[in-house]
């Protein structure tokens, strides 16, 4: 298959000359950043003292990134496009920095790095330098929405940015190394979920320079026809540009880009005039150029340009090796800087006039600084969706289903800025109400019997947590809102992506020109305790632990115990900014504990004593029963009920925690409860039996500095479980009501014979439940039918 365009040379000689000069300027500035401490314009011969002591950065990908950038500039001007540039090979930081400096944005945002010789010197010096800027396309780089570190997420970010941005073009450069990753491989089919009428366009540019760090890449070495077949298989129309002669590549790339942009315009025109949202064949460009193109061809007798050896710093001993120094100078001078920069060090007028102006610059496009274009959600009053709770424990409600009714109306009220993402689990997680007002986005074939699919859908379902996360990140980073709902166990699939987003949030909090984004909201349901259909492989509550390792200023964790607290929590999360909010809530019928007003107050406090469940009225308790999570709360209240009935003299305090970060000291987390308040609630010397949703040691990790930590005893998930009944699951992990009662009896001194009797009864009850379950295949009625009864405790003589 020959997919190279047979176009006449589309560029005039003058255009070609200017494009090439601009490209040379960007390459020069790239190399300057990697190497130079001083003498930025080579006004004197290069000397060792002009060279940085530590040579850090990545040259190999940079000439390709620069080439694509300048050609996009030309197209933006010619077509008045609104475009952003997603840099998959994000280690090519100096290339992007170079371009943003050339077009002026960098100096506008960082005035000390002015567009003159002194600024250029600062530009060079600061790169990968202590106190300067990172070597990658980090949040500090204007125009970036994509942290250049971990590879795999460029194309999903690009699609996320394009959703609901009909006038935006997202150019996405994918390096051939990145293309080997799973997340990137899955991303190609994102085109199944992009509506050409409603959404913007993504133009993937697969940049094959042949090598990763030390190895060739697979896509460069499979038969070229296979590569084309693969991209066609993904639904794209591929165009290949290949070569190592700059002028030829410029002409080819310009023609190919024009063709691709014409096709995109045609696709959008068709979709928008006919309303036909079905999946078109979008263009993709394959660019094959040498790694480290225009760099040193050989170093110390070994081939460098066009090989993996140009990945980072092609000349590594410049300060000490005069040959390397000479070679670097020759390399730098090969771009003829004297033709590119004027006497002040600024780009000559001819170059300065090439890129688009103002917001049309990719580095200044407001979509790439999402907080600027972010508009608040229109949020219906969640109180209207409350479960009516006449008495604690009544009625039973499915928390996520109740939340779903509010979510439905959030979706309805925000048809341009909110989406729901889930890996085929939206209805399983009982958020199906959303489908009353929208569909699932789908532009491939739709058949009779399919359920709520259309190109206009606002629910994004694909069986890939990576895609859900990446799309949502792209959507948030460009100033919109969303919720990601997933099974709790499998959200670990995106652990690493969460890390990177958390780092983005942390860094951008301290970059003044970056504006806060909508929070990344997780609603994890189908949680560890209720994997009735599945079992051990579906049980893991450790995502909370993972998130809590991130910077306190950007992470929040909520464990609402019932439907009304979930409503209040989600309303809070959707209003919040620049956090990662993890909310874990059940989907199974469960007791409602709090009225809406109580729920709001409880969520505002984050944790609190539930007086109605406690028996310590106005006095110091004998024991504190604490709980976090819906299932632990149920078991704790059942345990409190048992204690109230059978040990009525025991003063029990029940504490529920909805905002997990309240447990930390306020020195550690902004939500942390001050020690005095913590001591008041948890006492300084009484046993605390804490029933927790996840791994028990997390509670210790959060509270080890608290006065009463030595009396804290935590029950939680300890990796025991399989396909079994819900109560058997809590028993397998010693989190059940009977075991909690035993824990109380074992830890409160001097309870006497009645307690010993109760303890044995609890041991027996556990065995009976176990036997019943194994005999009948379902939980015993006394645990499934248990209800909290607000009544006076039986009194003993």
């Amino acid at each position: 298959m020959d997919t190279t365009l047979d176009t006449a040379a589309p560029l005039t000689g003058e255009e070609l000359r200017r494009l090439d000069a601009y490209w040379r300027a960007a390459n020069y500035l790239t190399i300057g950043q990697i190497y130079l401490l001083d003498n930025p314009l080579l006004r004197e011969p290069l000397a060792p003292e002009h060279i940085k002591p530590r040579l850090l950065g990545h040259w190999g990908t940079s000439p390709g990134l620069n080439l694509i950038y300048v050609h996009l500039n030309r197209a933006i001007v010619a077509r008045d496009l609104s475009a952003i540039y997603v840099t998959g090979p994000g280690h090519g930081g100096p290339a992007l920095v170079a371009n943003t400096w050339l077009e002026g944005t960098y100096s506008e945002l960082y005035p000390s790095v002015s567009r003159d010789e002194a600024g250029m010197a600062r530009l060079f010096r600061q790169f990968s330098f202590p106190g300067g800027i990172p070597s990658h396309v980090a949040p500090e780089v204007p125009g970036s929405i994509h942290e250049g570190g971990e590879l795999g997420y460029s194309l999903m970010h690009a699609y996320g940015a394009a959703f609901d941005n009909p006038d935006l073009l997202v150019a996405c450069v994918i390096g051939d190394g990145e293309a080997e990753t799973g997340p990137l491989a899955a991303s190609w089919l994102s085109n199944v979920y992009l509506n050409p009428a409603r959404d913007g366009a993504v133009l993937p540019i697969l940049h094959l320079n042949g090598y990763k760090i030390a190895n060739p890449t697979a896509l460069d070495r499979i038969p070229p026809d296979d590569l084309i077949a693969m991209l066609r298989g993904f639904g794209y129309e591929p165009y290949v540009v290949s070569g190592d002669d700059p002028d030829t590549v410029h002409q080819q790339f310009a023609g190919t880009l024009d063709k691709a942009l014409d096709e995109i315009a045609g696709i959008q025109r068709h979709a928008r005039t006919t309303g036909d949202g079905t999946r078109p064949r979008w263009p993709v460009i394959v660019l094959r150029t040498p790694k480290g193109w225009t760099g040193p061809r050989e170093v110390d007798g070994v081939r460098v340009e066009g090989t993996f050896r140009s990945h980072q710093v092609p000349l590594s001993a410049v300060r000490d090796n005069p040959d390397h120094l000479r070679q670097l100078e020759a390399w730098l001078r090969s771009y003829r800087p004297e033709e590119l920069f004027d006497a002040t060090g600024a780009p000559i007028d001819d170059l300065a006039a090439l890129p688009p102006a103002g917001d049309r610059r990719m580095s200044a496009n407001p979509h790439a600084n999402g907080g600027v274009v972010l508009r608040d959600l229109v949020l219906p009053d969640f109180r209207q969706y409350a479960v009516d709770v006449p008495t604690p424990g009544e009625p039973m409600a499915e928390a996520t289903r109740v939340f779903g009714t509010w979510l439905r109306d959030v979706i309805r009220a925000n048809p341009d800025r909110f989406r729901l993402f889930g890996p085929d689990e939206v209805t399983s997680n009982r958020l199906g109400a959303a489908l009353e007002v929208t569909d699932r986005a789908y532009t491939a074939q739709i058949r009779d019997g399919d359920d709520h699919l259309s190109p206009d859908g606002r629910v994004m379902e694909v069986l890939s947590e990576h895609l859900c996360q990446g799309w949502l990140e792209g959507y948030l980073l460009t100033g919109r809102h969303g919720v990601f709902t997933s099974y709790e166990a499998f959200i670990h699939v995106v652990d690493s992506m969460v890390n990177q987003h958390a780092k983005w949030l942390k860094v951008t909090r301290h970059i003044p020109w970056r504006r806060p984004l909508a929070s990344l909201n997780y609603l994890l349901s189908s949680h560890v305790w209720r994997q009735d259909h599945n079992g051990f492989s579906h049980q893991d509550p450790g995502f909370i632990d993972h998130v809590v390792n991130k910077k306190a200023e950007v992470v929040r964790v909520y464990l609402p115990p019932d439907a009304n607290t979930l409503l209040s929590t989600m309303d809070h999360c959707l209003r919040s900014r620049h956090y990662i909010n993890v909310v874990v809530a059940g989907k199974q019928p469960a007791p409602s504990w709090l009225t809406m007003d109580e729920a709001i107050l409880h969520c505002r406090r984050g944790l609190g004593i539930w007086d109605w469940a406690s028996t310590d009225a106005d006095a110091e308790p004998d024991v504190v029963l604490a709980c976090a999570g819906d299932v632990p709360t149920l078991e704790t209240l059942a345990a409190a009920d048992l204690l109230r009935r059978h040990l009525p003299d025991l003063k029990v305090r029940v504490v529920n925690v909805v905002d997990l970060m309240r447990l930390q000291p306020d020195s550690e987390h902004p939500h942390g409860l001050p020690d005095t308040q913590f001591d008041t609630i948890f006492t300084t010397d009484k046993p605390i039996i804490f029933a927790y949703h996840g791994y028990p040691w997390l509670i210790h990790r959060l509270t080890y500095r608290r006065t009463n930590h030595r009396n804290l005893h935590v029950r939680g998930y300890k990796e025991e479980g399989t396909t079994t009944t819900p109560f058997d699951m809590v028993m397998l992990n010693d989190l059940d009501r009977y075991h909690l009662v035993i824990d109380v009896i074992d830890r409160v001194p001097g309870l006497g014979a009645r307690a010993a009797h109760l303890r044995q009864a609890m041991v027996d009850a556990r065995q009976q439940c176990r036997d019943h379950t194994r005999r009948h295949g379902e939980d015993a009625p006394e645990v499934t039918e248990w209800r909290w009864i607000r009544e006076e405790a039986e009194t003993t003589p």
Copy 2:
């Protein structure tokens, strides 16, 4: 493209009848497991009491799985194949259980589940039943190497199983939902790394039944020609079988399978006779059949067969709804069980004779119970590779490079059972010595200038942590050995996969017929403290935290402080069985602290006092300086040195921890140090300043039960960092030597004026280092040139 084979019907009428009967039997047994408590052979009319109270399981994928299984059985017998079956749609547990029972393996391993009516009743009852077996293809299922929970990893497991198993056929069923995941999408190109001469064959069978839980799948709905193009693009030769008439599909599938197996045989013959290891075009089968095929067509007026509604339990109210009950009975009877099972309940002879016998049964193939075929590694004596350490701190050595020389000889000595896996980071992590004796496996095009690539390579490099992990898991699960080396931060990419493997290890420890596997060994280098080329995005030491959440009996974490301890640690890991070993070690030049003999002893103890660095000779110390990890150890020793020089009267004890699990109580982890020993080493009342490699709270989480925990103060990584110098990195996180001295002074009471003076000097030194770094771009000489000097401390008058 028409890729359906135009074969004459390859099956005789008799063969067709038997295959179909076997398939019906498997389907019947599948449904029986989901629904029936009793009356397994329908000897009486089905009544509510025969039905399980909780209907759990997945029907939708099962008829397809059963069809593929029986056809593979036919081919195995016809060709005397050694084959295993990897079940991507692993939620189809009852299908696999049904087949293993039909061929007798199940009853051999679980005698109470005999191949008769009583056994069939037990088979049905135990499924998804408390005290029974999980609903998925769990480790309890004979013949499985692939936990059926989280989707995405089937094809990489299949390839891992095939490496170095030239006579093995790995049939891998990929569900169309799984095909949407990133890891699966990346797996197709695993064929670039499979050598047809040396390795076995993988036959991917993409089973498109059209739906996931609630949605259609992308691959089913893109144009069929695109799907074929995609698979060809991945380098395969695709064959499509499609239909819903069983006889037609049987004939087509049998012919297609024959064709595919002929091709595989031809490929292997060619490669093995010519020695040509280049990448052939392996066959892949696409099977399109209805979801829930042969199940209820409609339920309550809604279409079920062929839709997502058949994903789990098509008839959901059988116990209470007489219509559902009738429908279930009709469904079960549609398979004509009376023709399939004899009076005793065993499969009739005609069926029992169909599958292969003995080890040729896929459920009994020894490769699927890897511990059975596992052979120990031949391990060279690691002592021979030791760094000669005349005095602590000398010489400088790159730990991973030293380890690499031993690893090289491990590879050389085990050319059939050991591989090294890494995401393009083997040389970056300084393990390049491996390439002196082998290459990187690569069967695609190899060009001049490539470095150590060949089809025979034993180093597996691909830019995908998912593939590295999945291949290695498949390799280990089939009884081989390996090491995965990765950048520390990006190993989080496989968090979720580690979870599943840990669960597999935990469960299989308690399945008597499963034999222990070689451990899953991670060597994480390019760690958080030395991301000189990269920065914040490459910094995350939290994988340790993630792993430590798993069951203590299967996880081990090591932080060797120098080259010799790394050698000793890795030798131990490669000898160990059935663990996940996480080893974090540096690749940069760093001091060597221990002689080989000392290192061995230190590793055996797991932690210990370094007398030569301590000043508390035989007395109770004033302070304990503890450390874990190479960089923290260096900073701790430098701090101890400062204290020795400037506060010579202060009695300092230096403790190094190499085996992190020693910190836990022995009640929590098998490696845990008993409290008395812990108290002896860490004292019960003296301040402990602990310099730790990762997130500091992990140390608290491990030690909160220890007597002296209240005096423990931990320094570690707190999410501060960017592209900067090594010493600036430790300063940013307060882990540096100067800060450790300040910590000591702030926590040891009564040190007086000299200490106050030293404290100020430390504050000044930090500022000077900071200024120097920002001015010169490199660390100050006093920290880079610092060496531990074994000399008497200066004495003060």
